[in-house]
């Protein structure tokens, strides 16, 4: 039996896996967006610089 052959389980769980994949993709995009928003903030300071100034 080839590993490439699609198992019946894969067909059955396609919707569930697709949904989970989409949720994870949205989560990654959101964390990326949050990171950009945080580092674009005027109050943001790079930790190493903070250390150097102390």
């Amino acid at each position: 039996m080839s590993f490439r052959e699609e198992h019946e389980l894969h067909k059955r769980r396609f919707g569930r896996n697709l949904g989970l994949g989409l949720v994870l993709a949205i989560f990654v995009a959101l964390v990326f967006g949050l990171t950009i928003a945080k580092v674009s903030d005027n109050d943001f300071k790079v930790p190493a610089k903070q250390g150097a100034t102390n």
Partner: protein, 318 residues
């Protein structure tokens, strides 16, 4: 063990007719309750005097919604025994055999922890702490502790549903203030008449499940009195809020109209007895329940409108 063995076992174990779909896990989050959570948290966030970056605001609303959904999943995990007894809840994923109790528990705990941590990272510790307390309150204090013990379960449970606008406000400001407490109080006082109106015409369900609803423990006449009393207190609070930082002329107009209508319905419910209610299939109680949904939506939309008008220098009484 060969691959063939693994495949055979896997198929045998999972080829259940009631296997969970993606939608079944989504249903565990109580999406209808989540819409209220999202909307009120959104209003709390936008009504706050401090602006937030749109992405941070979006993330905050999303994580508050996920936290609320996690509490819903944990509620279904604990209540699966009585859910199967009530017509209204018998099609939920656990009683329907789509999701096991263990799966629901793992799903709920994972999402609860994740939502609190992510809200903390996205906004601040006050908002995350409030979200964590909300989940704890709804699951441990209300669902596990008090729901099956006291007829005041709805009053106490209402507090959990009242936190989202406070969390939204805290996400923006990092603090709690009188305005956010007022939004909390509005939902808290609205919940009892809303649910007791429902309990009057869904009478068989709670009795069958042994949940000590006021209609079961104190009788239906007493429930009608409670609905009127809470609606009067709610009206005082809702109209009074018009003269605070979240209110203004638009809010006052909306509050006057909707509280007059809600009071009229609560008074009609109080005047009726069971014979009258059964004669017209609980027409007045059903009407009051539907109105209560619009009532909350209208009040929070008015708060949102005042916040939006403030952006143009027109909101509030100034």
């Amino acid at each position: 063990m060969s691959d063939a063995t693994i495949n055979t076992n896997t198929t045998a174990e999972t080829a259940q007719p009631g296997e969970a779909e993606f939608g079944d896990f989504f249903a565990l989050l109580k999406p209808r309750v989540m819409t209220l959570v999202v909307f009120t948290a959104f209003v709390g966030l936008l009504a706050a005097p401090v602006g937030v970056h749109p992405i941070v605001g979006l993330a905050a609303i999303l994580f508050i919604a996920v936290g609320g959904g996690a509490a819903g999943a944990l509620n279904m995990w604990w209540e699966s025994d009585i859910d199967s007894l009530m017509k209204r809840t018998s099609k939920r994923p656990i009683p329907a055999g789509k999701v096991t109790r263990d799966e629901a528990f793992a799903f709920g705990v994972t999402l609860a922890v994740m939502s609190v941590v992510m809200l903390w990272l996205a906004t601040n510790a006050v908002a995350a702490g409030l979200l964590a307390f909300t989940i704890f309150f709804y699951v441990v204090i209300y669902t596990i502790g008090l729901k099956r013990w006291t007829p005041q379960n709805i009053v106490i449970g209402g507090a959990a549903g009242a936190f989202p606008p406070m969390i939204g406000w805290a996400a923006a400001t990092g603090s709690i203030s009188i305005e956010s407490v007022l939004m909390f109080a509005l939902i808290f006082m609205w919940t009892p008449p809303h649910f007791w109106a429902l309990a009057l015409f869904m009478k068989g369900d709670y009795h069958k499940a042994g949940v000590p609803m006021l209609t079961v423990t104190h009788g239906r006449k007493s429930t009608r009195r409670h609905i009127l009393a809470y609606t009067v207190l709610l009206a005082i609070l809702a109209v009074g809020a018009a003269f605070t930082g979240i209110g203004g002329p638009v809010y006052l107009a909306v509050a006057l109209v909707f509280n007059a209508m809600f009071l009229r319905d609560a008074y009609a419910i109080w005047r009726r007895d069971e014979a009258m209610a059964e004669a017209d299939d609980y027409r007045v109680e059903k009407k009051a329940f539907k109105l209560s949904l619009w009532y909350l939506f209208a009040h929070f939309t008015a708060i949102l409108a005042e916040a939006a008008l403030a952006g143009f220098g027109l909101g509030g009484w100034a």
